[in-house]
């Protein structure tokens, strides 16, 4: 069976959904994320749904549940890249996503989670990377 990879970048898990999410794959993904939070003691999860053209009530519920369960495990979830048409469709349907934080792209999501990709200076100190700041509000 196909599965969706959960990448680990330091204290952050990055999940980029690139396949059509059928129902058991969505449930599976929820499990994978929660186990990986436990196993890696991750503090934050970025779920990238840029590629998802359709988010129906079932998928929305799974995403919302995952966020709530992660929060019980002391990890924050930010949903990244939700398309405007998807957002509006969920609103039309009367669905709110309780507790879900969103961001326009991965960098903005990291920022919301309190992290940032920094360039390492010669002296070993981290510096904020101007190139990064530019892109926070930019398109992907």
């Amino acid at each position: 069976m196909q599965s969706i990879p959960v990448l680990k970048i330091g204290p952050v898990l990055l999940v980029s959904i690139q396949t059509e999410l059928h129902d058991s794959l969505a449930v599976n993904l929820q499990d994978t994320i929660l186990y990986k939070i436990r196993d890696t003691r991750a503090r934050a999860v970025l779920i990238d749904i840029t590629a998802m053209e359709i988010v129906d009530s079932f998928i929305a519920r799974i995403l919302s549940e995952t966020t709530q369960m992660a929060s019980v495990m002391d990890a924050r979830v930010v949903l990244v890249g939700m398309r405007p048409a998807v957002t509006m469709t969920l609103v039309d349907m009367g669905m709110t996503l309780p507790g879900i934080d969103t961001a326009i792209n991965i960098e903005a999501g990291l920022f919301k989670l309190g992290y940032e990709l920094c360039a390492i200076r010669q002296d070993g100190h981290a510096v904020r990377e101007p190139a990064l700041m530019e892109t926070v509000d930019g398109q992907d």
């Binding site: 059509e20 999410l21 059928h22 129902d23 058991s24 053209e53 359709i54 988010v55 129906d56 009530s57 079932f58 929305a60 519920r61 398309r83 048409a85 998807v86 509006m88 469709t89 039309d92 349907m93 009367g94 669905m95």
Partner: protein, 129 residues
Amino acid sequence: MDKIEIRDEHDVVLARTAARDVAGAQGFSVMAKTRIATAVSELARNVFLHGDGGYMEYEVLREGNKIGIHCRFVDQGPGIPNIEQAMQDGFSSIATLGHGLPGARRLVDDFKIHSEPGRGVRVEIIKWN
């Protein structure tokens, strides 16, 4: 009319991607395409989850310059005893969100639901671009 059998969750994906692709091919706006595909996803899931499986039929409609998509969902499951109740936000017999039926109705231009207890459910929707 094209027909897609709906027996499991994979067929739900087939149904919604078919709706998306037809809408795309007919030049639907991104919003209209997303709405019809999402409505189809909800109704197809109900067919396999509540209706013991069935099928979706769909066709392209033309009225003057207007282009639309018409879908019919048919199952032979237990039916819905109280349609008014089922159409309410938050009503669910399986403790899920209960946004499927009322949500789908809000996404389309025309929504008809018919059910006889013990003889399944039939839903027809039309979405114009």
